[in-house]
Every structure is written in structure tokens, then in C-alpha cells.
Subunit: 315 residues, 2 copies
């Protein structure tokens, strides 16, 4: 088996720790999307829970092992999920986020009782500040993707995906830091090795995809995408290693395709999704010939959007 950091027994055991609210999420073929996408499409819906994204799977696992306060950097979703999981266990959490993160995400982090610290810059700036805070106060630093629990929590999505009937040929996974792609990819390579694992990242935030293609860490200078949930400049070497073992392809998509994907998911599937959650549909829209006649699954990984931005995108 692929020598990632992950372990199938631990991933299966994670299901016992994660609040059932985050497990066994809706998974169904959405035929209304198919005339436009020209392939069979199964949606895995991670938005119908209290934090409107898949991150609760990982933070439940992380928080179950916490004994005291913690700090994390977040693009907005991890912070919500960690705040939710920590509050449930009476633990204190500080979330560091970019001032430019969607207001809806920042508001929910505060509402869930976390201390929110905003920094200028982007996610990687927030990450540096979180590392400094953890050192300064001697508290646990929760690092998305670096902490194996964040990946193995996300990997439980894979356990559910492989139960799909009929089985699908390919899975499209939004790619940011790599926790979801690596975790889910690991499970698929173990249990359904015939499924093509394809990561999708915005052209405007391509660092991990470029790294995967060159098989070495490539960092980028700037980010230019509405897909705030996957916007990083500095891939982690361990995450890249994992991805190199379990991912078959990594593609980049245009902003216009992400918007078109969001609009299609609204109009044909009745789903409010954030830009990162439309990456899979965007990839099909950009390369229909690749997927024509195949059965493709895509993980609708989050639905935290600012309503006004969403109205503009899907108008």
C-alpha cells in the first residue's frame, strides 16, 4: 500500500469518535446536472451540518485528543469546526485568520465562542501568527494537513464514498493544503484502487498542483481566486509526499469555471456551495471530453459563503 502517513485502522476507528452529525452525509446521483456535464455525477454533500463543511470530521478527532487550549490558523472553515468541537468539550480555542476571509466565516467562528485574531495578509500569514502564538503561550497548535488527524478525519469521507452503488470511475476533490485530497485518496487507493483520484485547484492558487506536478514543493507569490477555502501559497512537504502516493492527476481551473460550477449547482441541484466546493464541477465543465460517459463523484466540501457575494456569483 501507498506509504502515506495514514492508517486504515485509525481511519475506521475515527468514525467512533466523530460526532455522527458529520458522518454518513448525503451521497446521491444528481441527474439534473448531467445534461450539462455529460457524465453521471454523484454528489457527496458535506454542507448539511452545524459548520456547513467537512472539517468537523477532522476537528472532532483532534479535539478528542486535546487536554487543554489550542490555537489554529484557518481560512475560515477549520476555525469554525475546531471552535464547534472544542466548545462541545469545554476547551478554549483561538483561531487566527486573514482579515480578508469571508465575513460569514469569521462571524461564525466568533459565534461559536472561539477567540478570533485577524491578521493582514493571507492564510500563510495567519499560519505564521498561529505558530508564534502557540510558542508564546505554550498551547497546542492544530495544523491543518500537518496534523494527521485532520487528514484521517477527512478520510472517513472515503469510507462512505466506496459504498456508492453503482461504483464510480473517478473522484474529483478540491485541493488546498491537501488534507481532504490525501485522506480520501488514501482510502480510495486502499479500497477502490480502480477509481481515478483527481485533485482540482484554482489557477489563481496553484501552489500544491504545481508542486505535485514537479514532485517538489513549489511556492507562489500571490493568490488570486474567489475559492478562499483552498487558497494557500506554501505547500507542506509531508502533504505533498502523501499526495504523490495517492493522487492520479491534479488539474487547475479558471475562476469563470468555478463561478459556472456554483451557478449550476444552485440551478440544477438546489445547493448553496462555496467556491472551493464547486471545483469538481468546474473541472468537468472545462474538460467534458475527459469525463463523457463516465461516472464521476465529487465532494461538495463546504457551503460557507457571504450571501451577497453568492448572489453576485449566481445571478
Amino acid at each position: 500500500m501507498a506509504p502515506t502517513r495514514f492508517d486504515m485502522a485509525r481511519i475506521r476507528a475515527a468514525r467512533e469518535v466523530i460526532d455522527p452529525l458529520f458522518l454518513d452525509t448525503p451521497q446521491y446521483r444528481c441527474e439534473a446536472l448531467e445534461p450539462e456535464l455529460r457524465c453521471a455525477v454523484t454528489l457527496k454533500l458535506e454542507t448539511a451540518n452545524p459548520v456547513r463543511c467537512f472539517k468537523g470530521r477532522g476537528t472532532e478527532l483532534v479535539a478528542s485528543q486535546l487536554a487543554g487550549p489550542a490555537v489554529c490558523a484557518s481560512a475560515g472553515n477549520l476555525g469554525q469546526a475546531l471552535a464547534w468541537s472544542a466548545r462541545r468539550r469545554g476547551l478554549k480555542v483561538t483561531v487566527v485568520a486573514s482579515r480578508s476571509a469571508p465575513a460569514a466565516k469569521l462571524d461564525r467562528i466568533r459565534a461559536l465562542g472561539a477567540t478570533l485574531e485577524l491578521v493582514d495578509g493571507d492564510f500563510d500569514d495567519a499560519r505564521e501568527r498561529a505558530i508564534a502564538l502557540a510558542r508564546q503561550y505554550g498551547i497546542r497548535l492544530v495544523e491543518d494537513t500537518l496534523d494527521v488527524e485532520t487528514c484521517e478525519g477527512a478520510a472517513t469521507i472515503g469510507l462512505e464514498l466506496v459504498d456508492s452503488t453503482p461504483a464510480f470511475d473517478a473522484v474529483l476533490i478540491g485541493l488546498g493544503g491537501g488534507a481532504m485530497a490525501a485522506g480520501v485518496g488514501h482510502v480510495l487507493k486502499e479500497l477502490a484502487p480502480g477509481v481515478e483520484v483527481i485533485c482540482v485547484q484554482p489557477l489563481g492558487a496553484p501552489a500544491m498542483t504545481l508542486s505535485w506536478r514537479e514532485r517538489r514543493v513549489v511556492t507562489t507569490e500571490a493568490i488570486d481566486t474567489i475559492a478562499d477555502g483552498v487558497a494557500g501559497r506554501c505547500p507542506l512537504p509531508v502533504a505533498l509526499d502523501d499526495l504523490l502516493h495517492v493522487v492520479d492527476d491534479a488539474v487547475l481551473v479558471e475562476e469563470a469555471s468555478i463561478v459556472a460550477g456554483m451557478r449550476l449547482l444552485f440551478e440544477q441541484a438546489g445547493l448553496v456551495v462555496e467556491p472551493s466546493a464547486a471545483l469538481g464541477v468546474a473541472a468537468i465543465l472545462e474538460d467534458p471530453a475527459r469525463f463523457a460517459g463516465r461516472h464521476v463523484a465529487t465532494i461538495v466540501c463546504g457551503g460557507n459563503v457571504d450571501p451577497d457575494a453568492y448572489r453576485r456569483w449566481t445571478a
Copy 2:
């Protein structure tokens, strides 16, 4: 126990017949709604499945007992669900609907392979035509609410609701013909008799609520509501009998409150819902003092909307 037409053993057995796609739907407390609604709110989400509404629970049960073709009248959702369940079993279905039903619903009925016949007038006109077709061709007439399976299928929602932790004090159920309200109400009165069962209907389509209040069938002349899924003029006597046994209150809400409820569910919960699915939230918005400090569950029963109408409502 309340002498309705329903049976708990049959309702429990229904879970074995219904495609798991329609069961164990997301059920979670949605705190983001609570500042505006001033009570704890648990959402039961019936929109994340191939027919984007709860009706699959009933049509799965109906179709499992069909041996040949069938016809039904539908406001749009039952027709989709019956078409889905029948296609899966290789059965032919004719759906009669009003020409004024949402185009999105009618398109999906056709796409699912049913024969669609449109009539002038409203749901009750479609119902007369379906009855005539069944007689003329000697095929099985599937009647929403009248057929006990449509109610007992919907009642499986109740089995899932009572597993809510913490338990809620009241449940708000959109009221049309009464299948969902009677079925879910029956289960709650059996298993959680302390829960207040409240039906919510639009002021512009109040026939069943007026009937419930007067304890006799009251029909109305016309319908004036955007909540197409619950718009009927001619309550069925047996449905009223059931409701009289299991419902604690029935309230009517303004159109503006339904729109406000849809907008709130979009902005704070990230959910695309059809007007009928916002009735519960509308009822809280209209009478916040009644629910203040309580824990209320509401069934988000469908999400089939015409995108353009939805954009107008939630702009």
C-alpha cells in the same frame, strides 16, 4: 393511542423498503438562525436526495406494492418522487399536474421518465383528471394522503426526529394535504407525546387549517400563495380525521413571512428551500413570543424551486 389510520409497526417496517437515500437525513441544530428566531432551532433536511424533497419516503413504499402502471396527481414533488421510485422498478407512471406548477418540477418529472399531463386549474383540478384517467384505463391511482403509504412513508421522518438530542419542545410541519403532518404527528404522539405538534399553512391556501379548527371539512374557492407544494382547496375527510387526533395547533402565515423564511434559510443556513419548506420558520418569525427560549424542530421538506423565482424571493 390516537385512532388514526396509521400503525407503528408498519411505519418501522417501511424503513426496510425505502431506499436508504431517503432515510436518516441531516438533522442538526442550526445556531446561525437563532439570533433572529430567538429560540433553539433543529432543522430536519429533506432536500439532499435525487428528488429534492421528502416524498420519496412515501413513493418508495407505494411503488414497492405496485404490480403495474400507476397515475397520480401532483403539485410537482409527489410526481417526481413517484417517477423516480417507479423507474427504479421498471414501472410506468403518468403524472397529472397543473400547468401553473413550477417549471423546474415539471421538467424533472419528464426527465425521470414519467408521462406528464398538464391541466388548466390547480392541484384539485389535476386530482379530478387523475381519478378519471385511472378509471378510464383501469390503472392504479396513487393518491397523496388518501393512500396510507404516503403518510406512513412520511412518518418515518418522525422516527428519526425523536432520536434528536437534546429533545425538542415543538415541531413545526408544513401543512398541505396532510400526509406529512398526520404521519409525523402520529409518530410523535406515540413516541414523544410531550412535543407540541404545530402545522403551518399559508393564509392564501388555508383549507385544511380552517377544517382542523372547525373540525369539519371546509373547502375554499381559490388559492393565492407562492407555496405551491401545499396549495389545495379540498381537504380529504380521512386526512382531517387523522390530523384532529395528532395535531395540537394549526397556524396560518403571511406570504411575506414565507419569503422572509426562505431568505433567512439561505443567508444563515445556506439552504435553498421551496416556499413550503419555509413555513415553519415563517411561523416563528410571526410569533416569536410563542417560541422564545424553546427548542423547535422544523422539517425542511423540499427544495424544488425555479431558480429565477428563487432569486427574486431571496434577493
